[in-house]
Symmetry: C2
């Protein structure tokens, strides 16, 4: 463990990969690692990229990474694909994409499948992002298919979010999940060389006209293409940087990060409490007896809860200072 972390702090990609696997697979060292790295996090800017399957997100992210790398900044990519039934597929995708940046030591890509539940995915993604952040990445890009609530949850981690749309079949604004449209800080109309790019841009602008929650920040709409030499990629990165400046200047960036820190502590508090309660429920004793009485309608659940909370707290591993 100590040796692994030494190599991690020295900037070794293989150590980074192993630390991520440890976190992702919930190995026993996970808690210790997250504890050790926390104070080194907060340096990375987190960019979310979401959109329907087939919108060309991966290619767009690759192009964006090349653009970022012109300034030598370090980039981590977390590709989340909860719709893929095969974790193997995600790993294969990794290898293929790795080749694009194979010679570039400033880029690290990690794909995540749906090992656990969808609900757990947002939590794990958050943890993996934290590992990359502590490692020293300047940018972390989270790429995910924008289909369900789980993906929306993942996107709440991002400082800025790009929603990728494409012209043509089935990708009209009307067919997009409302939630996805609302989390966009920037819209990218990708594959903009295809017919229909102008009309989808108009649809988005029209929709933005009807939104009143963007008095301060109206999401720019950028047309992009990753075909041949690419198009609009520099403009897209500029839009992200502009949003980043906006968040900093208005104090939103700091406020969001503070909220996130508080929520994280709350989550851990509730998790610790839940574990404490379950320890008592699982074994025979006064708590189980109380539950049986409720079930037999001898005691009401309110009285029972108060007594159980009291018992858990008194039995907890927290010493009260006695006079």
């Amino acid at each position: 463990m100590k040796e692994l972390m030494n190599r991690f702090w020295a900037g070794e990609h293989r150590a980074l990969a192993r630390v991520i696997s440890t976190v992702e697979n919930e190995l026993p060292e996970k808690d210790e690692i997250l504890k050790e790295i926390y104070t080194k996090t907060g340096g990375a800017y987190i960019l979310g990229v979401t959109g329907s399957p087939g919108a060309g997100k991966s290619s767009l992210v690759d192009s964006l990474v090349k653009e970022i790398r012109k300034s030598k900044e370090l980039v981590g990519i977390v590709a989340v694909d909860p719709t893929s039934p095969f974790t193997g597929g995600a790993i294969l995708g990794d290898r293929i994409r790795m080749n694009t940046h194979a010679l570039d030591q400033g880029v690290f890509i990690r794909s995540m499948g749906t090992r656990g539940s969808l609900g757990g995915l947002a939590k794990t993604t958050k943890e993996v992002v934290k590992v990359m952040d502590a490692f020293g990445m300047d940018w972390i890009i989270i790429e995910t298919v924008g289909v369900g609530q789980a993906e929306l949850d993942i996107m709440y981690i991002a400082d800025s979010t790009i929603v990728v749309l494409t012209p043509g079949a089935g990708d009209s604004i009307q067919t997009m999940k409302a939630g996805i449209m609302e989390i966009a800080d920037i819209f990218a109309i990708n594959k903009c060389d295809l017919p229909g790019a102008d009309s989808i841009e108009m649809e988005v602008q029209l929709m933005l006209n009807f939104r009143d929650d963007h008095i301060k920040w109206r999401p720019p709409v950028v047309k992009t293409s990753t075909y041949n030499a690419g198009q609009g990629i520099g403009e897209l990165l500029d839009a992200v940087k502009k949003h980043r400046s906006y968040l900093s200047e208005k104090g939103i960036f700091l406020k969001k990060r503070q909220e996130r820190a508080s929520n994280e502590v709350l989550d851990i508090i509730n998790y610790q409490w839940d574990r404490l309660v379950r320890q008592h429920l699982g074994k025979p004793g006064p708590v189980s007896e109380m539950l049986a009485k409720v079930s037999a309608r001898e005691v009401d659940p309110y009285t029972a809860s108060s007594m159980i909370v009291k018992q858990i707290i008194e039995g907890a591993d927290f010493q009260k200072n006695c006079p």
Copy 2:
């Protein structure tokens, strides 16, 4: 309060209505009432009736109630319509339906709208059911539109659930939410005098053939009509009674009720804990200072959580016995 509860226990419908309103509107006396009635609950059999809007659920429930009343058993009806934007509409519906059973003191109907959030509706419904149960109802019928997760949550309260389908437009099995089909213990093909009743029955039977979770209980499919003298209503009630016997004989009924009691206690425990935590977070003090340190990345959230839990427990209103 005491006088109201005396009238409630004496079986006065107007007192029942006022107790339900107290619970539904979250008045201060609510907790005390729920506490007082709990040990008197558990006598009622809870029947859920769900299906698409326009499936004729209300008429079917009314017919079913008339059938039940032949044996003089007392019936409470909770009509939940989260899709209705007007609570007034629900109240009007109440009045109209009340007329059907106006002279029958053995029937009590209560409609519930979406005052609060959808999430809260399941909780409130559960509480209203408990009030009717303690009042002495033999049957409680929960009637709800089967459209979303909230309705599914409501249906978990029921001992038996009837899913109502109708022949024709848009009500094909394919268009039904999968979750709704899975909670059915009994299917009613209502408006069975309309063309297409046989084909929808075949669809349901076919679907049931492919289900392997009903090795023990295969949901019967009953054709019903509330038109003129009605049709299949007695058969539908028999199917419910058969399911009830099945649950009792296999011990499932008792097991489900025990699980429900445990879950209820857990919910209250977590609610009490959450309230305790929020009391500390809201005000300046060591807990807020700790949160600020996490936000500034001076302390990791794991260390912070442990210290906060410790502080909350020590500061809690639970006295530890000191030597």
